[in-house]
Each structure stands twice: as C-alpha cells, then as structure tokens.
C-alpha cells in the first residue's frame, strides 16, 4: 500500500474528476471533491512521515523502470509542497460548501468541482513527477482546468481575465516544452535524474543554455514572477472565492517548486548560478517585485486585487531566496512559501467571506464595518500582520530567515527592497484597518450572516498562521530538509 502512495496521491483526485461530472448534483460533487482532497492530504501526510523516516521514495509508473518509464519521486524537497497543496485543497473544499452556492449556479457547480479535482491532481502530479515531459503534461492539466475555473467567476470581467491568463499561460507552457525539447535533443533522455547525470557531461553546450532559459522563463510566467506577473491580479481577483483561495496557496508555489527542482537537481546549481546569470536576474526580479507590487497594492481599491498584488510581491521574496542558491536561502524560500500559502489563503478566504456578506469587496464598501463584522476583520488584520511580517506571526519567521540568508550572502540592496516592501505592506494593511474601523459607514444595510463553513476555514487558517509564527518547528524542519535534499542531491 505505502509503496503505491506516490501514484495514489495523484490518481485519487484525477479519478474523482469524471465522477463529479457524472454525479451532476452540487452536494454529491462537493462530497467527491472533499473526499479527493482528504484522500490526497492523508497520502501526503503518510508520505511526508515515510520520507522523513526512511528517505526518498521512488515509484515506477506502470512497472516501466526509469529512465524509460515515468518515475514518481517523493523526497524532502517536495513533501512540503504536497502538504501545502493537499491541505489547501481540503480548506478550499470545506470553504466551498458555503461559498460556491452564492457565486455559481447549480448547473455549473459540478463542473467547478471537476476542475478543482483536475487542478489538484495536476498540481500534485507536477510536484511528484520525476520526468520532465510528464511534468509538462501535469502542468497543462492543472493550467487548463485553472483557466476554466477563473472563467467561472461571478463577474463578466472574469472572462477576459481568464482569456488573458489562457494566452500567456499557454505561451509559458510552450516555452517550458521548448526547453524540455532542447534538453532532450542534447541528452536523449527525459528522466530528471538521468538528465542530470548526462547534462553534467554536456557542459557548455549552447543548446543546454537555451533549454534552461526557456524552461525558466516559462516557469516564471506560471509563477507570476515580475514582470511576467500581469495575468495574476485579474485571475485571482475575478475567480470565484473558493478558487482564488485555493490558487493563492498553490499554483504559483508549485511553479516555484518546479523551478527549484529543475535548478538544483537537473541543471545543477553550478550551471545555473555559476555559468549562467540566473541568480542575479532572480534577485533583481525578486527585489523589483517586492517593491513595485507592494506599491501598486497600496493603491488598489478592490480587496481581492489588493491581495493579488501583494501575492506578486511575496513571490518576489520567495524567488529572491531561491536565487541566492545557498542552503539558508532555499530553506528560507521554502519556509516563506509554506507560511505565505497559509496566510494568503486565509486572506482570500476572508475576502470571499466579505463578498458573501456585503456583496462587494471594494474597499469603499468596507467603510466602518469593523464594528459590525468584528470577527471577519479581526481575521483579516491578524493574517495581514503576517503579510507585513510582524512578530510573532508566521510571516515574521519567513522574513527573518530570508533576511538572515540575504545578509549572509551580502545582498544588501535586496534586503533593503524587502524591508521597504514590508513597510509598504503595512501601508496597504493599514488602509484596510483604517477603512474598516475609522471611516464612517457608507450604507446602513446590515451585513448578511456568515456561512459557518467559510468562517471556520478562515479562522482555522488564521490559527495555523499564528501557530506557525509562535512555534515554527514544523515548517522550519520541513523547509530545512527540503533545502538539504535539493542542495545535496538527496533525490
């Protein structure tokens, strides 16, 4: 049983997807998605335990031995991502019970759950696969279903947002495919471990450089790295609340994970950071993202767009950590990845709650509601402080680790960018606080009641973010073992 877990993890959600379409009932489809999410979370938890105890697990799909068959690898570097993705799926599943009813009609709801299952399966597959072409396939599965989910958003603006995401996402995926093709042309293999071994021999081949550049740029589009971020605000801002909660915690994070995986265990840190200037470009892009996106977030008038821009800034932090190429940097990036997934999911969930209760997430509509919706806004403020990085929230742990890593590497300008970005983050969170508590209410309409499922998810996520801040042992140990597995090739 345990030997088959790596593939079960992916197959459960993929197999549940058609079930959702066939069942046609909202409640049944919801139940199926919940089961799929719980199933993959259980698999992820068992796998994480196994990997921690016995080292990496390898699984040959269909019994075809690598490098010819497809191989799934579960090791220290992807267990945190598996936990984050499947945990976010469970949160999204519970959350959708209250949220989907208000945003999507009964006819389309089963489709949404189908896409959620497909996205979940795609992201998990992308995380565990040890084969680059298979990675492309999973990337496309998750991306295509994501475009469809964004298009299900309640406003008409969701359609152009989904279309833009589709175009640019496809361009990115194509770049990834071109890169994989070039690497295949150089080495004649698609298995990651095998690629790594052969690439080491094919050093200083120009086709190899081109392969790396195409793959990185393609993944940077998927990860919304500044200045290739432009699809993200629309996609997160217009998607149904359940979807933005799920995507905010997962999709860009998985792309960043794949970036790490390919950098350290396929192309090799020597090539990427030594001969190629990827590290410097990443630090530049990360620093720029942190400052520019936070500054834009300060001026947003729509809560979901504000959060989306803040996500772009936080992706900048994670990218900067990875681009250092040091153990401390990668470990900090993972820590921030985990923490930010929790924090941003809780914020998007809270924004969805506000949307349900008020019918709008325009900041002007929130004026003076802090007193009438104290619990919802308290959650936003606590999670928001996490974004700023105020101790003792989870955000502080990640930022502290990142700041130490940057200092260790002597990257002062990036550190300054990070600190400035934190100040700006205080600015946009402060705007929410100021609007909610210190402005006169715009209308006297009483906010409608909050669905218990949504409130519960918001508070559980907020609680997790606080717990991770107070006692960072779990995420920190996950992050450290991930960095160790990546840098020492422990896959």
């Amino acid at each position: 049983m345990i030997a088959n877990l790596p593939v079960l993890q992916v197959l459960i959600p993929l197999g549940c997807a058609p079930l959702c379409v066939l069942l046609r009932r909202r409640s049944l489809a919801w139940l199926v998605f919940l089961m799929a999410a719980l199933g993959s979370l259980a698999c992820a938890a068992v796998l994480a335990r196994q990997v921690a105890a016995h080292g990496p697990l390898h699984y040959a799909v269909g019994g075809w031995a690598p490098p010819y068959g497809i191989e799934f690898v579960v090791a220290g570097y992807n267990t945190p991502v598996l936990l984050v993705v499947s945990g976010a799926a469970v949160a999204a599943a519970v959350y959708s019970l209250g949220s989907v009813r208000t945003e999507i009609d009964d006819r389309r709801a089963p489709l949404l759950y189908t896409f959620l299952c497909l996205t979940l399966g795609g992201l998990l597959g992308l995380t565990v696969t040890g084969d680059v072409f298979n990675a492309f396939v999973f990337l496309e599965i998750s991306s295509l279903s994501t475009y469809a989910m964004v298009a299900l958003g309640p406003r008409r603006r969701a359609l152009p947002a989904a279309f833009r995401y589709l175009v640019i996402g496809t361009v990115g995926a194509t770049f990834v495919l071109i890169g994989i093709g070039l690497a295949y042309a150089v080495t004649g293999t698609l298995n990651m471990a095998d690629l790594a071994a052969r690439l080491a021999a094919a050093d200083s081949d120009r086709a190899l450089y081109a392969a790396a550049v195409f793959v990185f740029v393609g993944l940077a589009v998927k990860a919304a790295v500044f200045p290739l971020h432009a699809w993200l605000p629309g996609a997160y801002g217009e998607a149904p609340s359940t979807v933005s909660t799920f995507l905010a915690a997962t999709s860009t994070k998985v792309a960043l994970y794949v970036l790490c995986r390919l950098t350290f265990t396929v192309f090799g840190a020597g090539l990427v950071f030594g001969t190629m200037p990827v590290g410097r470009i990443g630090l530049l892009a990360g620093g720029l993202a942190a400052v520019a996106a936070s500054a834009v977030a300060c001026f947003q008038t729509d809560l979901k767009y504000l959060l989306a821009w803040s996500s772009i800034a936080q992706i900048g932090y994670i990218l900067a950590g990875i681009s250092l190429g040091t153990a401390a940097g990668v470990s900090a990036a993972y820590l921030h990845l985990i923490n930010h997934a929790v924090i941003k999911a809780s914020l998007f969930a809270a924004a969805g709650l506000v949307l349900v209760r008020l019918g709008s997430v325009q900041l002007s509509a929130l004026a003076g509601l802090g007193r009438r919706m104290p619990w919802t806004f308290a959650a936003i403020v606590i999670a928001g402080l996490g974004l700023v990085g105020v101790p003792p929230t989870a955000g502080f742990a990640g930022k502290w680790a990142l700041a130490s890593a940057l200092i260790e590497a002597g990257q002062w300008p990036v550190l300054v960018a990070m600190l400035v970005s934190s100040l700006l983050a205080l600015g946009y969170i402060g705007r929410i606080v100021e609007t909610a508590w210190f402005r006169e209410p715009a209308s006297v309409a009483e906010p409608s009641g909050a669905p218990a499922s949504m409130t519960a998810v918001v508070w559980v996520l907020v609680a997790v973010s606080v717990v991770f801040g107070l006692d960072a042992a779990l995420p920190a140990s996950l992050a450290e073992s991930a960095a160790e597995a990546l840098l020492n090739g422990g896959g």
Binding site: A210, V217, W231, F299, A403, I407
Partner: protein
Amino acid sequence: MTANPALLLILGAAGVPLLRGLPRHALMAAVPVAGLVLLWALPEGTAPGLQFLGLELMPVRVDALSRVFATGFLIAALLTMVYAMHLRDTLQQAMTLVYAAAAVGGTLAGDLVTLFVFWELAGLSSAFLIWAGRNERSHRAATRYLAVQLLSGLLMLAGIVLRVQSGAGLEFGHLGLDAPGGALILAAIGIKCAFPLLHSWLTDTYPEATIVGAVALSAFTTKFAVYTLARGFAGTEMLVWVGLVMAVFPIFYAVIENDLRRVLAYSMINQLGFMVVGVGIGGALGINGASAHAVADMVFKGLLFMSVGAVMLRTGTANGSDLGGLYKSMPQTAALCMVGAASISAFPLFSGFATKSLIMEAVGQEHLTVAWLLLLFASAGVFHHAGIKIPYFAFFAHDRGYRVAEAPLNMRAAMVMAAVVCVAIGVAPSLLYDMLPYAVDYAPYTTAHVINQLQLLLLAALAFTVLVRTGLYPPELRSVNIDADYVYRRALPQGWRALSRAADAGRARIGPVLRRRGGELWEIATGPLRPGSRVSRPWSTHLMVWWTALVLGAMLLLAFL
C-alpha cells in the same frame, strides 16, 4: 514565558471589550495591580528561555533596573486605566493596556528579539490612541506617528541583525556605541527618546492624541526608550551633550507655545534631557538618577496631562489663550494640577526634588561645570513653562467665563492617586531609592540643597509675578525667562512677532503653491500605481507576450555572452 506581567496585561486587554459596566472597570483596575503583584513575586534573575527559530530567547529577566522601570510602567498603567474608566470606547482602553504591556514586556526582555517585538508593539498599539480621535486630523497625525515608530523599529531590527551576524549574540546587556549595530540601535532609541532633530514627531503628534491617549503616551514610549538607553548605552559620553541640548532647547519653544498639551510635550523632552544626561554619565549615581527621574516623570507628567485633559474634556480646548479662571469651577483639578506642577519643578517635598537632584549630584561629582549650569538653567525653565505656565493659564489668569462641572469622578480619583505618589516620593524618597539598581548614598534634604532650590524657584516665581503684574507680556506670549534681562524680554516678543508676521505672510504666499505642487508631484509619482494606470490595469495579451519575449531574449543574450 509563563509568568510574564506583560502577557497578563495583554490577556486583560482582550477581556476589556467583552465586559460592560462595573465588571469592566474592576478588570481595568485589577489587571495592572495583578501585574504589579506578579512582577514583585518573580524571583530576580532570568527565567528559563525558550527556543524560537533556533534563537535562544529570554523573555523575562528581572533585575533591579528592569524592576524599577516595570513598576513605574505598571503604576502608570493603573493611573491611566482609572483615568480612562469613563470612556465608552473600549478600543482605547484595550489598546492602552496592550501599550502598557509592550512597555513592561520590553523592560523585562532579556534578549534583543523580545525587545524588538515589544518595541514594535508599543509603536503599533499607541498609534491607535491617536487614531481614536476619529477625525481627519488625528488620522493624519497617527499616520505620521506610525511611520516614525516603524522607522525606529526598522533601524533597531537592522542593528540587531548586524549584531547577531557579527556573533555578538542576542543578549540584551550593555551594547555600546562601538559594537556592531550599536549606532543603528542607538538611532532607533534616539527616535523614541526624542533626541534633538529626531524629536519633532513627539511635539507634533502627542497633542493630537485623545485625552486618555495623551496620558498613556506620556508615560510609556519615551521612558521605555530611556530604559533601553540605560541598559544598553550607560556611560556613553556623547549622551551627556545630547541630553543637555534636549534639556535646554525645548524651553524656548515651550515658552512661546499656546497649546498647553504641546507645552507639556516640550517639557517632556526637557525632562528626558535630564534622564539622558544621567544615562550619559553612567555609574551608580547617573543610572540611579535616570531611573528614579524616569519613574517620577511617568507619574507627574501623567498627572499634568491628566489635569489638562480634564480641562479639555470640560471646555473643549487646551489653548492657553482661551482658558483661564477655571479654579472657580474646577478647584480640585486645579489643586491636583499644582501638585504635578510642583513635582515637575522639583519643589522640596515633591517627587521631582528627590529624583532630579540625583542627576544634578551625578553631574556635580563629575565636575562638569558647564553641564551643571545648563541643567540649572533648564530646571528654572521647567518651572516657568510647566510649573507656572500650565496651572496659571489653565486655572487662573483672565477669567474666560467658563462655568463647567468638575472633572468626572474617575479622573479625579486617578489624579489623586498620582498626586499621592508624587508627594510620597517627595516626602519619603527612600520609598523609591530602595528600589533603584544601585545602593543610594545620597540625602536630598540637606539645608544647602533645599535653600538653593527654593532660591531658584522663588526668584523664578518672583520674576513671573513682576512681569505679569507690570503687564509686560502680550497675552499670547505670556512667558518668563529669568536669565533674560529687561531689554531682551522686550526685544524677544517684538522680534518674534515681526518674524512670525513675516513667516505667516510667506506661508500664505508660498504655502498653497507648494502644497499644490506637492500634490501634483505625488499624483504624478503614484500615477502608475493607481488602478487603471498602465501598470495596474489589466495588461493586453500582446503586451504580456511582448514582455515574456523581452525577458526571454534578454536572458538568452546574457546566457550566451
């Protein structure tokens, strides 16, 4: 972490919004008292640490220095909470408790990370006390205040990180200016401690706080900074001169200021100057003096802010030119205000006399004649602007016809408690002396000292009386300056008036233009960031693809070069 008075206060703060009426009042008073009991029940020494991100933290360290400051903060918290009982606004009450908790927690912090956490918490929580004015003016002031507090926090964080990186460890003991990160940490403290040129946030924003907020603000932030300074930078000679500038320059501003709460803010900088001088001298006497004066200042400055706040509550203004004659309708507040005034002016039998003289003695023992004379001048200055000006213009002077009720009962109770503390320390200095970090071998009540001080004060009072009687002062510039002679006293107001007329005219001409230009510049600078601008509106697909192609091309080029 388990037995920390700061946590107790924060827990209490969480309970405040949940209760109403008498139980809430009881809770508000009980929490600081319980904090005091807990503080004195804690054994001296460092409580077992806890691990956080691989750092060894020591959140509770009790020694004489931290205990005397924490005691002061808790007493101030009690006074402020009693003073705040009449409010319906639970936000202010809860935030005041959190703010006090930050000061207490920071004082007990045994390591720099804990210190930083409470340093930031103090800044954040106190901003709410300004915000709580709930009007445009207080919003702006709070934002300015918060920005400065965060800047201070960032500097401190940067200093701590540098220090940790250099291997000096996290322990919060003597830091010193020359140690790695020392200058940054000192700059961070300098902001909160209102060093010259870094002080303007204090006089700018304290008078914009709510009535209760100003009382709380007067007690915690700056004295917390003094504690940090005493712990980390005792005996840094530069601080003596910094402190002297702080003690002297606000006098001139306070004399010409009309808003009584701003006068108090200036006089706070002046008092802080004394403490900073004490820290700069260091040694047993200097640190004792700084600690004792800080504790006394928390109470008497609080008392003064409370009385001016009570006046403000009843009359709606704190402008000296609009007030006067209130002793008829608010006799008790007037009497209590004068106790505070006597304390800050260091009248014998009041707290300032017992504590300030420790600092004077420390300066004297070091034979810093210039410094001693400047402090003497500053003492006289305090008497003018805080000791006489505040009670005189609020309660006496010209009767402006206010016939208002006496301050609410809880306010009077708080003021009485503060006054009792002031007199107790003044009458029996050993109450405070026994708590100080070093053994005190000093008797304030010697004949020479008492007579010296009385001479200083009485001559100052005489000067004031003569000047007011002879009507030499224009009403909006009522002030006395004992070491300025007759001609100078006339020249100063006239010169000042000419200058301010010119400045007003200039401001009227340039101000709007400058503001408009500034506004336009801000619009242009932030234009690209606003929704609907080129950056922030949804990008067209071809723009996104162009960017992708551009990045790809650039990376390929760089990779092949």
